[in-house]
Each structure stands twice: as C-alpha cells, then as structure tokens.
Symmetry: C2
Subunit: 415 residues, 2 copies
C-alpha cells in the first residue's frame, strides 16, 4: 500500500478519532492556514469514503479573529450569533461527529482581551445545550487533532525556515501519532489496549486520595469523588461504539472532587490558552477553590479564566501521563495543549468529563454536581508533571500506594 | 504615502466597492486559497478601519465543495441549510454590505453535476428573500472583486510557474483595476464619471431596439422595455449613496425586453460557469425565449442552466463594452466572468437589474415582470463582443443610430 502519512493520519482521524458511521454527518473545524486546509481536505475525503451523509465545514482565520477582538466591544461577545448556534445545534441534533483540527499560532491572540475570548466561548457554550451536552456527556463523537500552521511551527522551531519548521513539525506529529509504515488503525488499537490495561490496574487499586509533590513547590492533596474512575485510550459513545477524542493521547484521566483539592500546584510548561501564553504560573487551592494564583507572564489570562463563571475556579480533571510519553521524549515544548498535555501529568480547571463516572451519561448537570463533578463553561488544561514529581495514592483504609516516582508510573502501574 | 497596491485595492473595495458606512456590518465571502485569504484579511482590516460594526466571514473551499458535489445526491442540494439561510437573512436585515472575493480555479468543478450546482444556488436564492431581494433591487450594497487563486493563475498563464503566474495575474488585476501610484479612489471617481457621461449620451439617444451583427454568425434583434435605461459605473443605493458593484467595471448595461429578443448570438469567449467551462457556444431566440443552442464543450452546463426555472431561458441583461477596455487590450482570456465580461459586449441569461428601470426599487417582482424585466433565480453572463461586432440602434420613429462599429463605440458615444 502506497498510502502517504498524511492520508493515513486523515483515515485514522475519521475511522478511529471520530469513528464515523455510514450515514453520519461530520462537522470539520479548521483554520485557513495552508497546512490545515490541506489536512481538512484529506479528512473530508476520508469522511466521504467512510460513508458520511454530509461534511460541514466551520472555517476560522486567526488574523481575522484577532481583528475582531481588537475592534469589537466586550458586550458584543456576550451573545452567540443565531446562525452559528443553529449550525452547531442542528448538527448535534443530527448526531454529527465533530472534528477539530487545531494547530493555530500559539500567539495569534497575544494582544486580545482575554475577557472577550472567554465571553465569546461562554456565550456559545450556553447557547448550544445539545452540542455542549453531547460533547460533555460523551453521546456525541468528537476528536481533536492538530496540523502545523506556519505560526505554530515557527514557535516550536524558531531557528528553522518556515517551510522546514512545518515539515519537521509534521514529522513530529506523525511520529507522536504512531503514523508509520504499518496500518495506523492497528497501531492505535494496540496503544489503546495498553492504556486500557493501565486504567484497569489503577481503578482496581481503590485509591480515594492523591498526594502530589515535586521540588518546584507542588504539594497538593486531591480527593476523588465516590465512584469516579480513571479512563484512557478510547472513549465509549452512548451507543457503545468507541472513539479516540484526542490524537495523540497518552493520559489516564479522571475528575477530582469539586470540594476536595487542597495545597499548591506549580505548572511546568507554558499554557497556550487559545492564542495567548501564560508562563511561570501556579495555584493554591482550599476545599477545591482557587484562593491564590500567580504568573510571571500572562496573568491577565488567568484573571479572565477564573472569572469564567461557576466552576471556573475549581479543578475538573486530574490526568496521569508517564514521562516516557513519546511527546515528552522529544524534550520539546509544543505550546499546544493537545501535545503538551500528553507529555506530562496535568490538571484542568472547569468542566469534568462525565465518562469518568459510570452511569453518568443519563445524569443531569445538577446530579453530576451532587457527585462532586465540576460543571463549568470552561475546561483549561495545565501541566504539572515535573521530572521529579511523586504521586502517592491512599485507599479508603489509609493504605499508601506509590503511583508515580520521579515523573513515571511505579512498576506496579507501568505495563 | 507608502501604501502597497494590495492595501490600496482593499481600501478601494471597501470604500468605493461596497462604500461601507460607519456602523454597518459586512459579509466577506472568500475561498481558503492563500492569495484570497491574504486579500480577505486586508479587506477585513480596511472594513474595521472604515468603521464596520461587524465583519462576518463566509469561507469556501473548492476542493471540499467538489467532494460534496461528487458524493451527495441531487435531492440533497434542493434544500438550503437553515443556518446558512439565517446567516444571509440576518445579515441582510441588518443592512450588511456583501463582498464577494472571486478568483477560484475556473475548472474547480469540471467534474461536478451542473444540475446539483444550479439546484444549490436556486435553493439558496429562493430561501433568502431579504438578501436576494436587496441584491436585486440595489437596496443592499454589494461588490464583486477577484484575487488570483493558484488554479486561476495557472489557467490564465499556463506556461509560468504557479508563483510567477500568481504574481503576473496580481499585476494584471492591479493594472485593470486602476491601482497605481495615485489615490485609487480618485482614479475610480474619474473612471466612473466617464462611464456616467457615456451612459447619459446613450440614454438621451432614445434607442428602443438594437441590431447586433458580426461575422461569426451573430444576428440578433433586441427590443428594450419601455422606460429602461442604461447604467454604468457607480450604482445608486436605496439611501442615495453610490457604490461600485464590480471592480473592475467597464460596461454600460440595461435589460432587454423579456419577450423582445429574436435571432442568433454566438459567444466569443469561453464561459466559466461556477467552475465549469463552456466553449464554442451560441443561442437562437424567438420572442425572447431560447429555442435552440449549441456548445462544442460543456453543453451539459447549458442544459442545466436553461432548466434553472422561470426566466432562465431568456435574457436579462444587455451590456456594451468597448474593445478599448484595459482588459481586452491585454488580449487574454481570463476564464472569469468579472474580467471577461468587462472585456467585451455581453448578455446575461436570467435576472435583470432593477436599477435599469427608474423607480423600480419599490416594485414587486410581478410589477417588474409586467415591465418586461426578467425575474429569475439565475444570472449568467456570456460574451458576444466580436472584433467586428456592429450594433445599430433604432429610435421609436425608426431612425438608425450606429452605436458600435468593429467592436467599438461610434464617435458619437466614444468620449
């Protein structure tokens, strides 16, 4: 078979990423950057080949969006356009799959007002209950992948020419996403099986509390909600089929208890929050809530995020990533959450994933909150996996179970 | 002033093309081709600078649309998506300006079923009465310009490299659009004044019937509806302000009587109908209706067009272009209607422009039809301006007034 890596990546994205069914519509979100356009076309082609009933495009252009942030008042971002609400809601009602091709310039919105950005996202989220609900409770199939915009490639490889940087970043993406001479679907089923086995070990250990420590100042206690489990690899859709919401994915993740987080966390990578970078930052929590925070750069982004409504100032995700991850091994910061979060242990502020609570797919948001699962309009990951990170687990009975030592799973969990 | 030609072209497009008002929204339609993206960004910037309240983007990608034509059944194209209808209707209700950045590959849809393409357009047109009505009766400001996609540039300059072809085509566009070292607005006001003066001469001549003849077989009689006038250069918006709907524009145009066209017309350029080429074609008319037609290539495009509903098989526009036009002088076929129609006398099948009937802006479609103005879901221009084209005009009293000799205005009308 003489299938190019790009074609393989597109097929993997459609067949495993969103696991498109014959007769299902798909929404593809892409930017106008040439490499993203090229990959979007490949994905559209793969989607039709897989039997899509419809391929709907949602294009963005970060330069034009930056102009919008610069020229429109905050108030204007507080209402989502009706046609865009209709686009997402009608697609969700038709059980569309949702594919996001990420990879924009990490600093595309460095001059934008973060309050405008958060407001726009919150307005859209609250106006699209079918779409947001389906994404959050896992009944809709969605997937995030990334392709190298020129801006992203130059941020990761500033010393290369634009063309070289794009090529080198494509090669990183292929390597990290397990695209090689073999069948990509096979590679991923194997990878998913390994993550599943690790997930089972972790869930069987009966850990109800974690303690994170590393030399950079992280010292955090995290209670787990009753019944919460770690998941990883493939997600289960409402109809029982499986898909991979992130390509790549190297994490096992769950939800911390909404009111059960205490201590301090220091980030180890910059955070690229939708085109704005935050560097050298950390949080202090008391009973789940952020009570203090700092940042060397981009603190105004955190200011805006933490004002992102109910739950924005509490954690919603706890995720374990071994430092042997192929992304971490490249020893490179990608300034892109999809890549960086799969290089290191991380947490997220905001919305929890309902799939981490068996039976949650039919629960209301209120029910989930009762189960101590964060319900929020935002979900922002940040990385805490220092090279010397230790994580201890404790069972209900108080038994200590070492989970991480020096950034890696202990032998008990390392398969 | 060190303003680049590209910036000047964008400013001309916004300030004169759609004549954007402070506080007015604008819809910009562009493809994802890199040069169109580049120009769309410049236009968005110019629009914000001119005081736009909102810049709404409608992106297209011809490769992805071609996949859609190839994979979806005809039936699916007969209904316009509700969100797209909402996008156009709500923008039109907010009195948005509409800018189309054209310039796609003239053969992007060479393999597409023309019936699907016509159906999609008709479905969208009939579902958007506020938008279509506002475009047709001139109460909405709209403008069509073009930027060189790689595909278009290579079609016009097949012997150049893609990069060279794009650069040479940009230079053509600048030259033809009167972008030079001077202020582009001044250049265009002068050009508009000349077209206006010519228009006045033609309207004062009292011509009620035209006779077209050229050696390629054209021999056509055209009656004019009572009260119809020729217009050219700037259009008058409902509120009295002026805009240029086409950049470039070299034509004086009016509407032929719906039932008053008899004889034969031979096209002199290929027709690029939305990504499909028709070559070596012509029509025979009786009492306004097409009774026969032929094409050496792409006849199926004409088959589909003529089935485009009421009025699709009758003319709706008669346009005079002197062969001294800067586009014709380059002696090059552009395979793009905006450019080719401004190189030669042409007609259009389908919808007439209401601005060619004083007082028509408040008339219903039925009223306009009573005035013998074609009302149709389509509008497709084709060029008939042979080098030896002669056009005679006749007054109500039967007086002969020579209008064109050998492809150029007679001295009476040449200013």
């Amino acid at each position: 078979m003489n299938e190019s890596y790009l074609d393989k990546f597109a097929r993997l994205t459609i067949e495993l990423g969103v696991n498109l069914e014959k007769g299902q519509p798909i929404v593809i979100r892409s930017s106008t950057d040439p490499e993203l356009v090229k990959f979007a076309r490949k994905c559209a082609q793969a989607a039709w080949k897989a039997g899509a009933s419809e391929v709907l495009m949602d294009w963005r252009d970060s330069e034009i969006s930056a102009l919008e942030y610069a020229n429109k008042d905050l108030e204007a971002f507080k209402t989502a356009p009706s046609w865009k609400v209709d686009f997402y809601e009608s697609a969700a009602k038709n059980n569309a799959a949702f594919l996001l091709i990420d990879g924009d310039d990490p600093e595309a919105f460095k001059d934008a007002d973060p309050l405008k950005m958060v407001s726009a996202r919150m307005a859209m989220n609250s106006a699209t209950p079918t779409y947001r609900g389906g994404i959050d409770n896992g009944s809709l199939a969605w997937c995030v992948v990334a392709a190298p915009s020129a801006g992203w490639a130059k941020k990761v490889y500033p010393d290369l020419s634009e063309e070289e940087a794009v090529n080198v970043l494509w090669n990183d993406i292929f390597r990290i996403s397990r695209i090689d001479e073999n069948d990509p679907i096979e590679n991923w089923l194997q990878h998913g099986a390994k993550l599943n086995a690790q997930m089972d070990k972790l869930n069987q250990a009966g850990i109800v509390k974690f303690h994170y420590t590393s030399s950079n100042g992280t010292d955090l206690w995290v209670d787990m909600p009753e019944g919460a489990i770690f998941v990883g690899g493939a997600s289960k859709l409402a109809d029982g089929r499986e898909n991979f919401c992130n390509i790549p994915t190297e994490e096992l993740f769950s939800a911390p208890a909404l009111d059960g987080v205490n201590g301090t966390l220091e980030a180890v990578f910059p955070l690229n929050e939708n085109g704005k970078l935050v560097e050298g930052f950390g949080f202090t929590f008391k009973d789940g809530k952020v009570v203090d925070y700092h940042a060397d750069k981009g603190k105004e982004v955190l200011d805006a995020l933490l004002q992102g409504g109910d739950g924005a100032d509490r954690l919603g995700e706890i995720a374990l990533v071994d430092k042997s991850s192929p992304i971490r091994q490249g020893n490179r910061i990608y300034y892109n959450t999809l890549y960086d979060e799969n290089a290191a242990c991380h947490f997220a502020l905001g919305q929890s994933y309902a799939e981490c609570l068996p039976g949650a797919q039919t629960m209301s948001k209120e029910d989930l909150k009762q189960h101590k699962f964060n319900q929020s309009e935002i979900h922002v990951d940040f990385m805490v996996g220092a090279d010397d990170l230790n994580i201890d687990g404790y069972t209900k009975e108080g038994k200590l179970i070492p989970v991480f030592r020096n950034g890696s799973f202990t032998t008990e969990f390392d398969l």
